[in-house]
């Protein structure tokens, strides 16, 4: 494998675009991020990766970069930022901008919704200056871009499309990428499915680009999200053992070791080019066929066009299919649509009328004993969400979904809701009252507050993910839509390539049955099955002729997703399409043709993988 590093001046000096009397700096391009982290999860909604002060309540170290002032004079400084929990309290994520160590006058992070905030003005001489972001709270302050202008009354763009064009104009970039790369196969998304797909195809001799928007592979299983892998290996034990995890508790730091294992194993393959920190932003298709996918480096802004005859959408959210015009489904089907009702759980299992109350996203977290008294600040902005709930760690049940929130379009709102749930619940745990005691008793544990106090005093947050662990989003439509009935009836398919025996397990929010309960917790319902199998026809698009999909965006219904949505199963999907891609290349055909004309050879190839 070749780790692709393209050295650009931008990498060193930051993603700085200077015009005569103005300078735009993309925050994610800061040369030194300090304690801030690059968050590229919501680019499609708010326009850009941004820097996040993810300090779990402790202010993070400054992010710094150099800028070049071409013309001396008075500059007005703006920051594109957001108060992520607006209300009748001080904004949680506040910060300053400083130039050469001198703070600008206004605290930032106070405006509800992404927008430009005025930081202040400063007289600047010509030459290089050090620009810093100085976090004040450690509670998820965020900065998308900094803009310095000599114009006093400049009206900065706010509407997304206008802003996008303005950014490009400021930077002198074009929407089309500067570089073009050619491959046999482009895999977008480096979760377990994407990794398995890349390995399977590479083993068969394909030249593969694996494009992933994070610095580590694994997606929900990575050390950044920390969900353990579940399910069986099916026909792909050898490949999946290179990628999966032990069955440690969700949120465990053991996930970090598995990241190393996964990276080492993927790096063995010389014909996989790994584009880490590249987030796809478009798929170009004509006549129902994708010609290329464009991706941008999440810090430098550098873009690459990936051309190939075949593409695999392992993005989870089905972005490649969506951009290319693939048919997709989102939401819960009416139970009558595919006859998926289960009387045991009735409306909780599947609704009578279709809705958008899909399974939610999780943010895992945990605390540790610091061995000494540790303070945790008041978090008034969190209490509307956490209410009286008290907890010291969060497993998969920490999940949020709402009928009127999209797991894709409202993902930042969902993540921020979980931040409030976590910080508020942890505060309650550290500062127990009669009410919070009741929360603990509800879990059948008798709490002796006097004995607990010392332990609680020394608790500190150890790790809180800032990445959403999504369960369900777009489901691209294939030649076959997999449903609950295929699981409960163990439908036999001539083209079965993925196998699972895990219970069908769908979730609902606990406050559906009692609105006094937290709205950020879920429960699971389990339908026990015999082993079931998934046909190959679920893994390529019905109407985009050269697009495969593997992972949670495969062709299924909401309830159908309930069984095979775990990561050994999605890994099987990846491996299955990786091998299919190799036959597509061999015969110069589309994915559907493998089912129509080469099924026997394909199944033999899969069978030989054990």
């Amino acid at each position: 494998m070749k780790r692709v590093l393209i050295a650009l001046l931008m990498l060193i000096s930051g993603y700085v675009f200077a015009q005569n009397n103005s300078v735009l700096i993309e925050a994610e391009s800061f040369a030194s991020k300090g304690g801030w982290v690059v968050d590229p999860q919501f680019v499609e909604q708010m326009g850009s990766p941004y820097l996040l002060a993810h300090g779990m309540g402790k202010p993070v170290k400054d992010a710094e970069t150099n800028i070049s002032i071409k013309k001396a004079g008075k500059y007005h400084v703006w920051a594109r930022t957001k108060n992520w929990a607006p209300g009748n309290w001080e904004a949680p994520g506040r910060f300053y901008v400083a130039i050469d160590g001198k703070k600008l006058e206004r605290e930032l992070g106070k405006n509800p919704g992404w927008n430009w905030e005025y930081a202040g003005n400063m007289d600047l001489s010509k030459g290089d200056k050090k620009l810093s972001l100085k976090d004040l709270t450690g509670f998820e302050g965020r900065c998308d871009a900094i803009y310095l202008t000599q114009s006093e009354n400049e009206k900065l763009p706010t509407e997304n499309e206008v802003l996008k064009k303005w950014r490009l104009a400021q930077s002198g970039l074009t929407i089309a990428p500067q570089q073009v790369a050619n491959y046999d196969l482009v895999v977008v998304g480096g979760g377990i499915a994407g990794c398995a797909a890349s390995i399977a195809a590479a083993e068969q001799g394909l030249k593969v680009a694996l494009v992933h928007d994070r610095p580590v592979l694994g997606g929900n299983a990575s050390g950044e999200i920390r969900v353990h892998t579940l399910g069986i290996y099916g026909k792909f034990e050898r490949i999946l053992k290179m990628l999966d995890t032990e069955h440690y508790p969700n949120g465990s730091a053991d996930a970090l070791k598995e990241d190393q294992k996964r990276m080492t194993n993927v790096e063995k393959y010389k014909n996989i080019d790994l584009f880490l920190n590249f987030r796809a932003y478009g798929a170009n298709a004509t006549d129902g066929k994708i010609t290329s996918v464009d991706a941008r480096q999440t810090s430098t802004g550098e873009s690459v066009r990936f051309e190939a005859p075949l593409f695999i959408d392992c993005t989870g959210d089905g972005w490649i299919g969506y951009w290319a015009g693939a048919e997709y489904n989102y939401g819960r089907e009416a139970s009558s649509k595919y006859n998926e009702s289960w009387d045991e759980h009735g409306l909780l299992w599947s609704p009578e009328t279709a809705d958008n109350f899909v399974m939610g996203s999780s943010v895992l977290w945990g605390s540790e004993n610091a061995g000494k008294r540790v303070e945790f600040p008041e978090v008034p902005w969190a209490m509307d969400v956490a209410k009286k709930y008290a907890e010291k760690n969060g497993e998969w049940q920490w999940e949020f979904s709402q009928n009127d929130l999209s797991q894709i379009e409202d993902a930042e709102t969902i993540r921020d809701h979980m931040f409030r749930a976590i910080y508020g619940s942890f505060y309650n745990y550290k500062h127990p009252t009669q009410d919070t005691q009741l929360s603990d008793k509800a879990k059948m544990a008798t709490v002796d507050m006097s004995k607990r106090q010392a332990k609680v005093d020394s608790l500190q947050l150890k790790w809180v993910s800032y990445l959403l662990g999504k369960r369900e989003s777009r489901r691209l439509v294939g030649d076959y839509i997999y449903t609950f009935n295929d699981e409960r009836n163990a439908t036999k398919f001539e083209d079965a390539v993925v196998f699972e025996k895990r219970e069908v397990d769908v979730h609902y929010q606990v406050n559906l049955l009692d609105d006094e309960k937290p709205n950020f917790l879920s429960e699971a319902m389990f339908y026990k099955t015999d082993q079931y199998s998934i046909p190959y026809r679920c893994f390529y698009s019905k109407n985009i002729s050269n697009l495969f999909m593997a992972g949670r965006d495969f062709s299924c219904s909401h309830v159908g997703l309930g069984g095979p949505r775990v990561m050994r199963t999605t890994g099987q999907m990846g491996a299955a399409v990786g091998f299919a891609a190799s036959l597509c290349k061999k015969y110069n055909v589309d994915p559907r043709d493998i089912y129509l004309s080469h099924l026997k050879e394909y199944l033999n190839l899969i069978e030989s993988q054990k």
Binding site: E352, Q402, N403, D404, M444, L512, L513, M525, K528
Partner: protein
Amino acid sequence: MRLTGIALIILSFSLHAISAVSSSPDSLKTCRKAFLFKTDDYAVANAIDICRNAAQVPVGYETALNMAVCDDKLCANVVLKVCWDLAGNYVRFDTIAGKPLTKFDHKRFSDADYKKLDQILKDRNSMLRVLEKSDLVDKSIKLKATTVDAVSGATPATIKNAVVEGAVYSSHTLWHLVNGQIKDSIRAFTLRNYSEQIALQMLGSDNFETQLFALKQIPQEQYESRFESLFQVIRKSSPLIRAYIINRAPLPFRDQEKNRKLALQFPDLDGYSKSIFMNRILNDSEILNVFAPLMLNVLNILSAEQAKTIKEAIRK
């Protein structure tokens, strides 16, 4: 010697029965045999009684159980009175005087064990649903019983929360009995004897499944004539039930006062019900024409964002 000890303890317990629920709200109820329930799983036939309150309105079912639960003869039979509501949802159990529940090695249930068992039986999502009896004990770990010359498996760590420790078979057997096929039999009996009194009793339940059972018996065309009772259900029930009624109601009602009353309730609804209500308004011009003026102008009860969405729908 051991037997004498147990006998003494039984004597001291025989003075009162233990109930999983501290107060008995239906002390005036009378029960009589409703039907016989038999399942191959447990090789027992039980007479299921239907119980009525003082006003002779059916309120639920009960039965006296006496069943073996252990494979290894280390625990006594489970002897209990179990109660269900009219939709077959488990309500509670009472022990029979002199017949306390016991755990591994004949240890008596503590108060906490009784409470935990009650919570387990109420947990419809319990992982016991998908577990076989063979999953319940880790045979690799053997516990030595002090009173009998035998051993029993330990409880695997992963299922400890789903069972009363030391009484895994009792937990499993009881869960499957009280949440199993008997539910269907109870529901069938209730339906055969369905009446307006039973409908009202079930609608007023605090169990969402029981409410749903009753709601599903109401044809949509009766929603308007039954508006008052359904409106009370909306006010007092869980988001799931509220949303179900709002989704099913034949809106707009012919009686404008009913529309007004429903609209007025909007601010007090939970997020889910609000979203269902909004979707109905936005997706049906007839509903929009009635509710938009009410909500925007007359009652002024919408958030700025909701008002904006509705105004946009009107423009379209």
